[in-house]
């Protein structure tokens, strides 16, 4: 699903960039945000693997509330490094949050929702991560 989702996400990011007066800067912003989202997803996967391997999840009762807490914590922890990188490499460009949302929809949203079930905790997690993605995009486009 994710490879398919990259097509509309890429189109949205590209379209947003080309609408700007300075398409070069906007395209660079879009590329950086896209890479930042990919890094976020990669670190998130890494965190899941480490947590699963550590056996600590077995001490936690499997419930929707606990699942939301664990997933949200992993998402926030994994986005810190990409956020830092994007902030440090920021160049002024508009609509950073929009690029963040577009690449989030292409790279991360298809991996949420428990395979299409979308219970309430998944919806809340997706909303939280959409907000984080917009923050990351905004950080990448901030001027000095």
């Amino acid at each position: 699903m994710m490879p398919l989702a990259l097509i509309p996400a890429g189109a949205a990011a590209l379209g947003t960039a080309l609408l700007d007066d300075r398409p070069g800067a906007a395209l660079l912003l879009s590329l950086k945000v896209g890479l930042g989202m990919a890094l976020w997803a990669g670190l998130w996967h890494l965190g899941m693997g480490l947590l699963a391997g550590s056996g600590r999840l077995e001490t936690l009762a499997a419930s929707p509330a606990h699942a939301l807490a664990v997933n949200a914590a992993l998402a926030v922890a994994a986005c810190l490094v990409p956020g830092l990188v994007l902030a440090l490499t920021a160049r002024p460009a508009p609509l950073g949050p929009v690029h963040g949302l577009a690449w989030f929809c292409g790279l991360i949203l298809p991996l949420l929702g428990q395979g299409g079930n979308w219970p309430v905790p998944s919806l809340l997690l997706a909303a939280l991560c959409a907000g984080l993605a917009m923050v990351l995009g905004g950080l990448a486009g901030r001027g000095r």
Partner: protein
Amino acid sequence: MKALAILLALLPLTLCPAPLMADWTRTGLEFHEQTPPPDPVVDRTRVATQQARRCAGSSIRFGDTAAMRGGVQADWDDQTRTLAAIAAMADSYDTASEALAATEEDGATLDSLSVLTALQFGQPVSVPTEGLAGPMLADRLFWQAMTQVPSATTATWANDILPALDAAFQADPSSFQVRAWRVIAWLQAQGFQRASCPARIADFADRLLDLSEASACPLMLGHVTHGIDRALESRPETDPDATRAAWRHFGEALLATVAGAPEVASWRGAQLTRSPDPCAPLMASELQALLRPEAAR
């Protein structure tokens, strides 16, 4: 940028599947509780029992009437027996009905023979059920259903014929013809079914297993499926109704599983993957689950 490159290099590690942990599982980027496996829809115990019995006989009888099935004893004198034999062998309705009218015997058994004779000659006949019970009632309910078959719509199959056959099954579980026609009637009425997929599959599977309870013999079940094809005037592959075709594939696959022909059942199950019926995926997964112990043998 160097840090970014190093972290991206670690990305392949994240693609390794994580082990499942107790009640937790992961789907994509989410940990969540494991959903318990669904309850089996097709009765596994009945399937296993019939597979073990295979061609052994059962208490189910193949006679057209209660008397032929041994459900009632016709204590007739010689003259009545002779006249009944004449009626059974006659090639015209007039001859048969005159022979039956000439008997001095009276009673429900002879009345049933008169009704059956009229039906066999395609004559209009009323089929009373008052005051009857057990095998005799089952016959009358079955014949009432059969009189409606030639002009039945899907609504008639669902609202009249199927309930009559189910009532006949309750009245006399030993009648094979009732068990067979309960499957045909369900297929004819399937367009009117409004229950959930698990409920419909369980209902249809129960009817099929009622049918194969007579004998899970490959030859007999092959004859039965041929009889169903003739009643529906098509093979499952040529059925113009695509959703009914899916149910027919499932039915033949289940009977093949019971009869010990897993390759036939697998092929039929594979046809379900191309079906537009919304219950087809559940039917296919049930067949796969039933075939797994067979494949392991």
